[in-house]
Amino acid sequence: MNIVVCIKQVPETTSVKINKDTNTLMREGVKSIINPFDMYAIEEGLRIKEKFGGRVSAVSMGPPQAEEALREAVSYGVDDAFLLSDRAFAGADTLATSRTLSKGIKKIGDFNLIICGKQAIDGDTAQVGPGIAEKLDIPFVAFVRKIREIGNRSIKVERMMDDGYDVMEITLPSLITVVKEINEPRMPSLRGKMKSKSIDIPTWGLADLEIGEDKVGLKGSATQVIKVFTPKRGGRREMLEGSVETQVGLLINRLNDLKVV
């Protein structure tokens, strides 16, 4: 099984704070990390490789510093890594990103399975995985919580739904996106960390991928962000004072008045 794992370098959004005075994001000290959902993709790729042999390659589209994320992936046991980076790729929406990554994966070559995290925590769109599958014309299953069986020509997986799960079978080569229920990612290994310092990570730009400039980055994007703003908060609060008994009493009166209980 040759596996390609798609990863994204993201800011650790849980540590992003809003400056209450200026109402802007405070980004100081926000670390860049591998998108947490992609860690499950890496882990699943490694587990499949350990069982069936083959290679696990990681690919990422992003600015030059996204190479750090790929090196980190190598420290976990990924065999090789490829960075798709070019000024022309900047400002890509999920459509342009899907096109670019699918070209990168084609260039990596022979693969049986592509694994993506279900979504990236900075965008939360969950669109790039299915987009890549479409651009490569391969079947996919999103939100996979378990791989049941891997055969020569197909895989059986469980897909997480809102009210349960579906058991799906798709032919190989194919793509899955995975949810965190699928596994517990491992720690890096020392040998992996050593390898990650020395491994050569090829960077492919526009000229290396068989794709037109009008299909990537901002130019290739169908959507545009036209406005960014910080969400308004309600602020109708009434703080209930007094002893615990009094506070609870007041609360129950208020809730009765509003007929919510």
Binding site: D124, A222, T230, R237
Partner: protein
């Protein structure tokens, strides 16, 4: 590209603070922008000197193309129309009226005549129906094919779907095949009537910021919409509508994707998205066993148990209970947050609840900013008293 006009820039630094991506640095009294720039335009809006502009955007609007009409993908599970669909029909009606076009529903399933009538009662002028046994269960491959073909045939200008497991799974494939834009998880929709463009607003960065997104050129404009953020359509059995049947002969041949089994999980998975009362616990509960307190209060109020991401990440309660950006959006009549400080990512998932009660020991916790009523106090003191008092009332 975002360009800074060196002549106009004063180096005031307002853009540096406004940039959500940390891509702007003011050096030598001039702003410079690095590759972290995501072209969101936040800097353009705040610059008082008109020194920043985005170049290379295509400027054409949606006018002049032949796509017409607003479509709602009417998802079903086990033959039952998902409740988000009714909300989409409500919102779709408004959008269609602003554009002066028809609202249509697209419905895939097996023996679905009754449901098509229901969709019309909820406001659909037309229902495109594909009715066959192979459409009973959700299969990405065939759903995508049928929807793509319908869109190519009838050319709607807007296609909406719920941001459910189904919508978030196959709609991205559909938009990619149509080479058009898709905005995920929208919480607000509107029309720029001048340009006939759909304004799609969604949270980004874990809900820390909101972004309004458009798809200026490609058609249809596609969006998935969060459950429980839009108002349900009104139901009127007198409404009349047209039903257009899609022949799906031949679609089931050579499928690469098979649905082997559909399993409903009951018990653990309480559908918090549907509950009228939710009692939620966060890290302030300190230990998994203290969720018993939350469960007890929820039980008395006939509600469901929710949780913050912190509590779920700590493994105190399963993910199905998580409220927030990465969990479920909820909109109950009453939301009681216990020991939840109110990280933005939690607030976006619950702030449209009708009444919000917050109980937290830290009187400055952000949860109080969205609360209708706040009690600054120890959860372990307040909640037991609440339970006692409610028990007395209920007798």
């Amino acid at each position: 590209m975002v360009k800074v006009d060196i002549e106009l820039c004063t180096g005031c630094g307002v853009c540096e603070e406004a940039c959500p991506f940390g891509a702007i640095k003011v050096q030598d009294d001039v702003a410079s922008i690095d590759e972290r720039c995501n072209l969101c335009g936040a800097c353009v809006d705040v610059c008082s000197f008109e020194a920043i502009s985005i170049q290379g955007l295509r400027k054409t609007g949606g006018e002049g193309n032949d796509h017409k009409g607003v479509w709602v993908f009417a998802e079903q599970r086990n033959g039952k129309i998902a409740s988000v669909v009714l909300e989409l029909l409500g919102e779709g009606r408004k959008l269609a009226d602003k554009l002066g076009v028809d609202l249509s529903a697209v419905f895939f399933g097996d023996s679905v005549e009754m449901q098509t009538n229901e969709l019309i009662s909820y406001g659909a002028d037309k229902v495109y129906v594909a009715d066959a046994p192979i459409l009973r269960d959700f299969n990405d491959e065939i759903y995508s094919k049928v929807l793509v073909d319908l869109i190519n045939e009838y050319k709607p200008e807007i296609v909406l779907s719920g941001a459910t497991a189904v919508g978030r799974s196959f709609i991205p494939e559909v938009s990619a095949r149509l080479e058009t834009g898709l905005t995920a998880d929208c919480t607000a929709l509107d029309i720029d009537t001048e340009r006939r463009i759909l304004l799609q607003t969604r949270p980004a960065f874990g809900g820390n910021i909101m972004a309004t997104i458009i798809c200026p050129d490609e058609r249809p404009q596609m969006a998935t919409v969060r459950h429980k953020v839009m108002k349900k359509a009104t139901y009127d059995t007198n409404r009349k509508g047209e039903v257009i049947k899609k022949d799906i002969n031949g679609y089931g041949v050579n499928l690469r994707t098979k649905v082997l089994e559909v399993v409903e999980e009951i018990g653990e998975t309480v559908n918090i998205a549907e509950a009228d009362v939710i009692v939620s616990g966060g890290r302030g509960l300190q230990e998994p066993k203290n969720f018993k307190l939350i469960e007890e209060l929820a039980k008395i109020l006939g509600g469901a148990v929710g949780a913050s991401r912190g509590a779920v990440d700590a493994g105190w309660i399963p993910y199905s209970h998580q409220v927030g950006q990465t969990g479920k959006t909820v909109c109950p009549k009453l939301y009681i947050a216990c020991g939840i400080s109110g990280a933005v990512q939690h607030l976006v998932g619950m702030q449209s609840s009708d009444v919000i009660v917050a109980i937290n020991i830290d009187k400055d916790a952000p949860i109080f900013d969205v609360a209708t009523f706040g009690i600054a106090g120890d959860v372990f003191e307040v909640v037991p008293v609440l339970i006692k008092r409610f028990n007395e009332i209920r007798g």
